[in-house]
Amino acid sequence: MSTVGERDRAEVSARGPATPALELDRVTKRFDDVIAVDDVSLAVERGEFFSLLGPSGCGKTTTLRMLAGFEEPSEGRLLLDGVEATQIPPFKRPTNLVFQNYALFPHMSVYRNVAFGPRRAKLPKPEIDRRVREALHTVQMDALADRMPAQLSGGQQQRVGLARALVNDPLVLLLDEPLGALDLKLRKEMQIELKRIQREVGISFVYVTHDQEEAMTMSDRIAVMSHGRVEQLGTPREIYFHPTTRFVADFIGTANLLPAALVRAGKRPQVRIGEIVAEAGSIGSLPGREAVEGDPVSLMVRPETLRVVRERPEGITLPVVVGEVIFQGTGIRLDLQGPGKAPIVALVPAEAADWRPGDRAYVQWDPDRAHVVADPAS
């Protein structure tokens, strides 16, 4: 029997920390004519919190279901702990899934729900009991072990769902939008809690979400997906500040994407916006061919890196007109109109100048924090 079929930590870790917990090697999934996942390759390290992020229909859930074994890849291979696992059925995989709708067995108590996996593994009774209690303790549900799922709130049910998966000590824990059905405040609390639990148990998490804030809060690395492909794979910081494509720049946080033409690629890229030539700190991936001057690109500037001033400052600057002034507590959001009525959003400190709609102003940014991305059409 290969080690992947077993749920034995000692044996698994004997393969050494260098082997990724999970690898997708050029995986494609087709449903009839529709390509749901298109040539995806990625590796999840041991103990890593990894997120699959993207809008609905981007293939993230299909990817997760292939990891769980509910869908079989049309092409490509899946490796768990370095061992081919493409054909292993779900009930023999060292992965466990946390469902968006909890999927607790309604006719079983919390305790019996959590004990379901260990009982299938035919562990001795005292061992089952010890594990179940430990898992319930980890998710802080010890006190409610005898309740039925219907007697629990949504947040409590998802804690049980988490315990039911964790109790099996999986190689990889898969989470399918587990907080999607919870209200915002509870969701924020659970994000922190999930991160804590993940650090405590040290298991690799693969987390599917369409909520970019959620992914950034918790993840070590994020794969941003669109149309079945991985658009970018990186740390939250890389993805936020150095998106490789316009899609990623637009999907993650709020981005000002100023239409521009490439002047010079390379370490200190330069772009032309109307009359001015601006320098940027970095540049994302460009079309496969050699980038040439005049290629359509966008200059990405995050709202919080913009300075808004009344008097024309020295250096590179754009004239704007103030549209809306929105007080947001932590700051003021200014909806501005740039040259050619291009919308620009700026976040300025709450105690900043008293802006009114119609005011004329200038925006300026730190070139090091500006970033160039290619336009999709090019």
Binding site: G69, F91, F105, G117, A121
Partner: protein, 290 residues
């Protein structure tokens, strides 16, 4: 305000409510409770053709004491329980298929199932007689494919009654189980698979406990009428497939002993109630264990 607002938001006056309820209550009293009370009284009197109508426990003593009655009771229970078990074995896979796998064929197949029940029960019975006859379709077929040399005696046996009872109520067993399974979220099955359960375990631990309400409903709808069926034993049962309802009919019509007939009816009623109670109990215990 004299009007009350019911949970559906419709306002009823007290008089209106009384008027609406009057007809069903009256109907039940006159045509259901009335005869039942009358039969209760009859079952405690000497009411055979020479009886004087005086009070007695003899009818019950006879029904419960005579070996011939007891053996007919036992036969009836064996026949109906066997038919019910066969129905469950056949109906559960059909119901699961309809609930989880049928896709766009779900509704057409349900309709087809209901249509099979539209055939007049008597026509169905005589059709079975022709099929199971010594010279019948079934025997000829079995002989033709060389499975048997001599024709089997199927008609006028317990087996014949079991077959007829089981095939006659399939729709009424499939539909409640299907309805119960329909409420089971598919992700529960995925969750069980993900947690290491194979199909036998999923069946035992998840699907059967969750479909229990459907099984109970099927028992209520199908088992009790089967217990008191007298057409099937009369047409295909013969001497061997004789059931309690045939006996009751005989007591009333042929022997004119209303006392024993009534007593028999109440024993059947008690058995039905007991069976229903036991099945509900079993399903509850199953739920706690699962």
């Amino acid at each position: 305000m004299s009007a009350r607002v019911s949970s559906s938001g419709v306002a009823f006056g007290r008089r209106t409510a009384a008027a609406v309820l009057a007809s069903p209550v009256l109907t039940l009293l006159v045509f259901f409770a009335g005869p039942l009370i009358y039969l209760t009284w009859v079952s405690f009197t000497r009411a055979d053709i020479v009886g004087d109508g005086s009070f007695t426990f003899d009818n019950y003593a006879e029904v419960l004491g005579e070996p011939i009655y007891r053996s007919i009771f036992l036969d009836t229970i064996v026949i109906t329980v066997t038919a019910m078990l066969i129905l469950f074995l056949v109906a559960f896979p059909i119901a699961s298929f309809l609930a989880f796998r049928a896709g766009k064929w779900e509704i057409p197949m349900l309709l087809a199932l209901v249509l099979t029940d539209e055939l007049n029960p008597l026509i169905r019975l005589y059709a079975w007689q022709i099929v199971m006859n010594k010279e019948g379709v079934l025997n000829r077929f079995l002989q033709a494919i060389g499975l048997i040399d001599e024709p089997l005696t199927i008609l006028f046996t317990k087996t014949a009654v079991v077959v007829v009872l089981a095939t006659g109520s399939l729709a009424f067993v499939v539909i409640p189980i299907y309805a119960a399974l329909k409420t089971v979220n598919r992700t529960l099955i995925e969750a069980a698979r993900d947690l290491g359960a194979g199909w036998p375990t999923i069946l035992r631990e998840v699907l059967l406990p969750l479909a229990a309400t459907g099984f109970i409903a099927a028992i209520l709808i199908v088992f009790v009428p089967m217990l008191s069926d007298f057409a099937s034993p009369a047409v295909v049962g013969g001497r061997e497939g004789y059931m309690i309802a045939s006996l009751i009919e005989e007591e009333f019509n042929a022997r004119g002993d209303w006392g024993v007939g009534s007593a028999l009816s109440f024993v059947v009623l008690a058995i039905s109630a007991l069976m229903v109670w036991v099945s509900i109990k079993i399903s509850k215990v199953g739920r706690l264990q699962a």
